[in-house]
């Protein structure tokens, strides 16, 4: 089902996308074909022959002020890093494979503890210094070990990183204290972007300052108006894109400008009025009007990320009972959710992973909507319906609350809907989605019942759910931890697929710790004559984008 993927330049057509969308939505939604012929709803827009030159305005939902690479967990950061910095490896969303980038090739020892990278020659940072084995080692060391003196956290994906060694001028050997097959993928993540030694030498504040970051990417920092715009210009001698890029040389665009539109309601209008070429974070309710006004909707899928989920936290007594968790899992009508607050561009997810992700197993039948069963489970758990319809157990109300990032345009309305559904089975939900302050506290508080999220997982699901320290569930499940270990140790792809399947099964059905919601997608409004594509992390690939004049 790769054919409606953002990056498929040839296959994707409006019809195809709409058809599939229709299938997924279970009903033909009007907006799908709204734009009419010519604008492929949900398709990449890289069609025709590239035009050289010009400037592209990418309107993100906010501009980050902290660009310390370790903390580039947000789209707003990875969107920038994808275009100014290169990585050892790249993730091919079509195949789910890790493909060469700065590392032209690599070898892994049989127990997944030693990785040997061969560094592509003649790559230079924009300050002229070479991106050689030494530079790579410097990067890997900071990522893997962190730097307390500089208040720099270590990269959570670099599990068991012991150190690197430059064995030849073009060779780096990485040693891990424990097996980690996912280490390779971890080097393809935005959080593993390679920076010039000059930048690495800076302290936290320095590394956080975008204007001070020197890297080897197709675009180079030009200027900024703090909190307002970031301007990057093309690097003419750029010639080392990853193998997934359709453009082997320098970018077509002369300049790219990142701006922010915090107001959800203004994002489509910005593109419609020609004030932005691309705008991220279009809310479902605006999709129809967008396509109606001839704006293309590019749906960037995110195999590099997990699906959207709601995670139960170990410290919260209310959801400590598995029956309750199960009840909540099956206690709302996903199809209704989709038709009410989502759109056909948001596939309902069947697991922790997106349907487009490698190793995805569809468990959706296992947690299909079943209100009666949910009620039965709750009764069984001892929660009896109270006077106002909300269940109670020895004087305590069945009340849960959810915290989630304000950045997702659908998660708050989605939980408003889920709230009304859960109310029917006697569960009260306080919807704190969108309240950043509460999210900030909730992340650090194991007793906060539910967190709604989706995350980069190139480093594997392990870092997200293994140790008790994980801020998602705060649960350390031995069976899971074992599975994670085997996954990291596994060498055979088939073997790893199997383990990954078990992990998903365990997370969703075994422990009922996660409530799968919908696949992670980012809907972008794309102006007329703008040709753009996205990587597996929904980051724009501006090196191969162009704008018709």
């Amino acid at each position: 089902m790769s054919f409606h993927r953002v990056r498929t330049r040839l296959a994707a057509t409006a019809g195809a996308a709409a058809l599939l969308a229709g299938v997924l939505a279970g009903c033909a939604a009007p907006a799908a074909t709204g734009g009419g012929a010519g604008d492929g709803a949900g398709a990449s827009t890289l069609s025709g022959s590239p035009v050289e030159g010009g400037s592209l305005v990418f309107a993100d939902i906010e501009l980050q002020t902290d660009f310390q690479v370790q903390k580039a967990f947000n789209y707003t950061q990875s969107n920038v890093f994808r275009n100014i910095a290169d990585r050892l490896t790249a993730f091919d969303p079509e195949t789910g494979e890790v493909v060469p980038w700065i590392a032209s090739e690599w070898t892994v020892n049989e127990d997944n503890t030693e990785f040997t990278f061969t560094i592509r020659p003649d790559v230079t940072f924009s300050d002229g210094t070479p991106l050689d084995a030494a530079a790579v080692k410097a990067n890997l060391d900071q990522l893997g070990l962190g730097d307390d003196a500089k208040k720099i956290v270590k990269n959570r994906d670099f599990i068991g990183y012991v150190g690197s060694e430059v064995t030849a001028e073009d060779t780096v050997v990485v040693r891990l204290s424990e097996p980690n097959a996912d280490f390779l993928k971890a080097t393809a993540a935005a959080t593993a972007s390679l920076l010039a030694p000059a930048t690495l030498a800076l302290d936290y504040a320095g590394q956080a300052d975008i204007s001070k970051i020197v890297a080897s990417g197709p675009f180079v920092f030009e200027s900024q108006v703090p909190d307002q715009e970031l301007v990057f210009t093309k690097r003419d001698d750029y010639a080392w894109p990853s193998s997934i890029s359709t453009n082997d040389g320098a970018a077509h665009l002369d300049e790219v400008v990142f701006r922010a539109i915090p107001e959800v309601g203004l994002r489509v209008g910005a593109v419609a009025s020609g004030q932005a070429d691309v705008s991220r974070g279009v809310q479902p309710s605006d999709e129809a009007s967008a396509t109606a006004s001839g704006i293309e909707l590019a749906v960037a899928e995110a195999p590099e990320l997990t699906a959207n989920w709601a995670a139960f936290r170990g410290g919260a007594p209310v959801v400590s009972d598995q029956n309750v968790r199960r009840a909540l899992q099956i206690g709302f009508d996903r199809e209704a959710l989709k038709s009410t607050v989502l759109s056909e561009r948001y596939p309902l997810s069947g697991s922790v992973l997106n349907r487009s992700a490698p190793g995805f197993v569809d468990l959706s039948d296992e947690f299909a909507y079943d209100a009666d069963e949910a009620e039965r489970l709750l009764d069984e758990a001892g929660w009896k319906v109270g006077s106002d319809g909300i269940r109670e157990k020895d004087g305590q109300r069945l009340r849960v609350s959810i915290a989630a990032s304000p950045r997702s345009v659908v998660i708050k309305p989605a939980f408003e809907f889920i709230e009304s559904e859960w109310r029917k089975i006697g569960v009260e939900l306080t919807n704190n989605a969108g309240d950043s302050a509460i999210l900030a506290t909730a992340l650090g508080d194991p007793a906060y019942p539910i967190i709604g999220s989706r995350q980069f997982y190139l480093g594997g699901l392990g870092p997200l759910f293994s140790a008790a320290g994980n801020t998602n569930t705060y649960v350390s499940d031995d069976e899971l931890n074992a599975l994670f270990a085997t996954e990291r140790a596994a060498t055979e792809p088939s073997e790893r697929e199997a383990v990954l399947a078990d992990i998903q099964e365990r997370l969703v059905l075994g422990t009922n710790l996660l409530v799968p919601l919908w696949d992670e997608v980012q809907v972008h409004a794309v102006g007329k004559g703008v040709h753009i594509s996205f990587d597996g992390g929904t980051a724009p690939l501006l090196q191969e984008a162009w704008v018709e004049d």
Partner: protein, 319 residues
Amino acid sequence: MLRYLASRAGQALVVLWITYTIVFVLIQTLPSDPVTIFLASDAGADQELIDRVSALYGYDRPWFEQYALQLGNLLRGEFGFSLSTGQSVLERIGSVVGSTLALASTGLLLSVLIAIGISAIAFLVDSPRLRAVIVAAPSLFSSIPVFWLGIVVLQVFSFQLRILSLFPDGSLLSLLIPALVLAIPVSAPIAQVLLTGVEQASELAFVKTARAKGARPMRVFWHHVFRSSLGATTAVIGTTLGVLIAGSVITETVFARPGLGSVLLRAVIAQDVPLVQGLVFLTTLVVVVAALVVDLITPLLDPRVLRSVGTRGVSRLGA
């Protein structure tokens, strides 16, 4: 006058100290440790690192030590480093303070003009109905949600008319329109003061005298009514700075303008204590200085005040 200046400066310092204390207490009562929040991102919370960072910022010391330490730093102009961005607080603030000043000052100017306009019309029109409408304007202005107004303005000017850039582009218009949105609520209290002046005008003896001289209505308004409420007006303007800041937080968010407003918002969300402290301390400083200036120029505008100088009268605070 010198003595007065000295005493007022003294008072200003006391005020600064009190505000610092209030903020410190607020921060101390935080339910959660800012450092934890800062570090417990999606990346997971590493306890030892948390301890190391809090030690680095001195958050592990007893409260009274922190109180003295931080106060000392502020007095020495050392605002420390922002937890959430690692930038120096001054740097962070300095990078955007300009655009906020531009917005705020323009907004203030516009609001004063609006207020004067309203009161002038209210004084000049004869029809009681029309006057009733005009007099109602300020309370209406202070009742419109600023963000709503801002979004409507953007929909109209930026999307329909397409004369205003959605992103601040440095053009005069992209400053004026947000400033106008900001000015609407700020103008309300100023207009109210001027209006009370106008409403009393019909009873005020000296206005009678002026009219009895045969002065034209316009002259009566400017030379007597407006001129004599000028003192009270400046006093109020001194106190609208709070509204101005609140307004700019929202205006800046709606119009995606960089500025102290958005910085404050993020700092507060991230519970970035050093940044919040720095912001509050600096804005307080500005407001206090502004109040001081107002106090110094009010006597020039209203000689009566000179007599009550030294004792900060409520009347002049425009309560």
